[in-house]
């Protein structure tokens, strides 16, 4: 008796049990007809395999690493779920306050309001282990739920995303509050997409008592100064424009990059607030992993610097110069020997970021050529 396609296919795929397998094998030795069908099925199988093949056969080592990363990410997501937006807001406020931290010189200019423009950037490397540490400490602190209401009032005005046609890129300048520089064509690349994040004003009026309770729950010893209570901090973003460029030649040699311009955000600090005290309270929170604390407290010129979080596990950061000015080169690794590059620098009151899939030399050339 001959076998049908189904049995022979299952035989090919190793999906028959031992007994059936032996029977088919014995039959194939003597039946030219079935052998022929089997060969045909094998050809079809290999054709599909070749066309559909994806070269992804990760080693156990790779999977272990992925798994570890995954568990940490899961932990971080649970953390955000459990503690609500508060942790994200808290982290944001922490970064902003740390960033606003003030040098003693600032006191001299404390007239009506302290206004700081943050037009410098510095990388702060964060590892999955850091996130894991924060999570553990949150758990240990026994703080179960955090309600943003307990920390003050938050009000946001404006913002939103808008798209601008590439041929009307100039008009993006009217939608933002910083000195946006439109680029049309660049060295064989054409402008394909322009996206604008509009300016936004965020007013934060902290409830000092509430925040201090939280700081103490986390084991922090330094609390926020009382005189901050009920005073309003204003963070004003001035907008962001992203321009995506693509190579003229389609397909085969396709390349693209994105130029992002971010207007320096501005922070207004109410009179009579000792930001040094705020800084210390934030930096000394036991919640903060030592690695991050050191990097944050090591940043000079705090009041004007935006710390840029960098995923230390997948990225390397280098200090370079662009047009004679200090810049950050971030190498994002996404394969064994494959990198994506991002170059960040500031020019006047604008933060520039260039990132894309071009070779590094070409990226640097473009960065240098921007006017």
């Amino acid at each position: 008796m001959c076998y049908d396609d189904g049995i022979l296919q299952a035989y090919l795929d190793g999906e028959l049990d031992e007994r059936e397998k032996e029977m088919v094998k014995t039959h194939l030795d003597t039946c030219a007809k079935c052998k022929k069908v089997l060969d045909e099925l094998k050809d079809l199988d290999e054709f599909a395999k070749e066309k559909l093949a994806i070269d992804f056969n990760p080693s156990m080592e790779f999977l272990k690493k992925r798994y570890k990363y995954f568990m940490i990410r899961k932990g971080a997501e649970n953390m955000i779920k459990k503690y609500g937006k508060a942790v994200a807001a808290f982290a944001g406020v922490l970064l902003v306050f740390s960033a606003v931290l003030v040098s003693p010189v600032r006191d001299a200019v404390a007239d009506f309001l302290g206004v700081f423009r943050m037009s410098r950037i510095e990388a702060v490397k964060i590892t999955p282990e850091d996130i894991e540490k924060i999570r553990q400490r949150l758990n240990e602190s026994g703080v179960k739920e955090i309600d943003l209401e307990q920390f003050g009032k938050f009000k946001s005005i404006g913002g939103g995303f808008e798209e601008v046609k590439p041929e009307e890129v100039e008009s993006a300048a009217e939608k933002v509050d910083f000195d946006f520089r439109p680029f049309g064509e660049l060295d064989g690349y054409k402008l394909a997409f322009v996206g604008v994040e509009k300016p936004q004003k965020l007013e934060i009026t902290p409830d000092v008592e509430g925040i201090n309770r939280l700081i103490m729950a986390f084991g922090g010893e330094k609390t926020l100064p009382e005189e901050m209570d009920g005073k309003t901090f204003v963070i004003r973003t001035t907008g962001t424009v992203r321009q995506t460029f693509v190579s003229e030649e389609e397909r085969a040699n396709f390349k693209s990059f994105v130029i992002t311009q971010v207007g320096a955000p501005e922070i207004q600090v109410p009179e009579g607030v000792d930001l040094n005290a705020v800084r210390e309270a934030m930096l000394e929170l036991p919640l903060l992993p030592e690695n991050i604390r050191q990097q944050l407290s090591g940043i000079e010129n705090w009041q004007a610097t935006i710390p840029i979080p960098v995923d230390a596990e997948h990225s390397e950061v280098e200090d370079i110069t662009v047009k004679g000015k200090p810049a950050l080169l971030v190498k994002n690794r996404w394969g064994d020997n494959a990198f994506n590059y991002a170059i960040l620098w500031t020019d006047n009151q604008t933060i520039f970021a260039l990132d894309g899939s071009l070779p590094l030399e070409e990226m640097l050339k473009i960065a240098e050529s921007l006017r």
Partner: protein, 158 residues
Amino acid sequence: MGFLEYSEVYANYYAKVYRQLFYMLNDPFLAEDLAQEVFLKFYQNPPGKEGSAGAWLFRVAKNLAYNYLRGEDNRKKREIKFWLLRRDSEIFHLLEEQIYVRQVLAKMDERDRMILIMKHSGYSYEEIAEVLGVKKTSIGTLVARAHRKFKEYFKEEV
């Protein structure tokens, strides 16, 4: 489900789910992102006693991929498009072939397409049978038929 059991499922199925998502989306980065998403769901909300882990993972990954492709948010779509375009030339070359293969797959009917994707992602006959709701013994026949159609369509298109 115990910790050990869970890491075993991860080790056994990560590559399968990844390949499946790659077939459906043609984007290695997206495939990786969504694969993580699938396992997150698996961890938070594991399938009950009835039904195997493999079939469950396949279904969840399939739905996530479809939701993604259907995504209503215009901006998101655009960003995906540019994300897709923002590829190294080497990867892009690979994509060219993948795009053609995907067009061929799109011409096939849902059942044949799912059979091909499942089989070549590394799922077992038992898992394919569970997803399709048919007997395991008929999978061989279905696979052979899907292979024939795939080659036929592939040649036709060229």
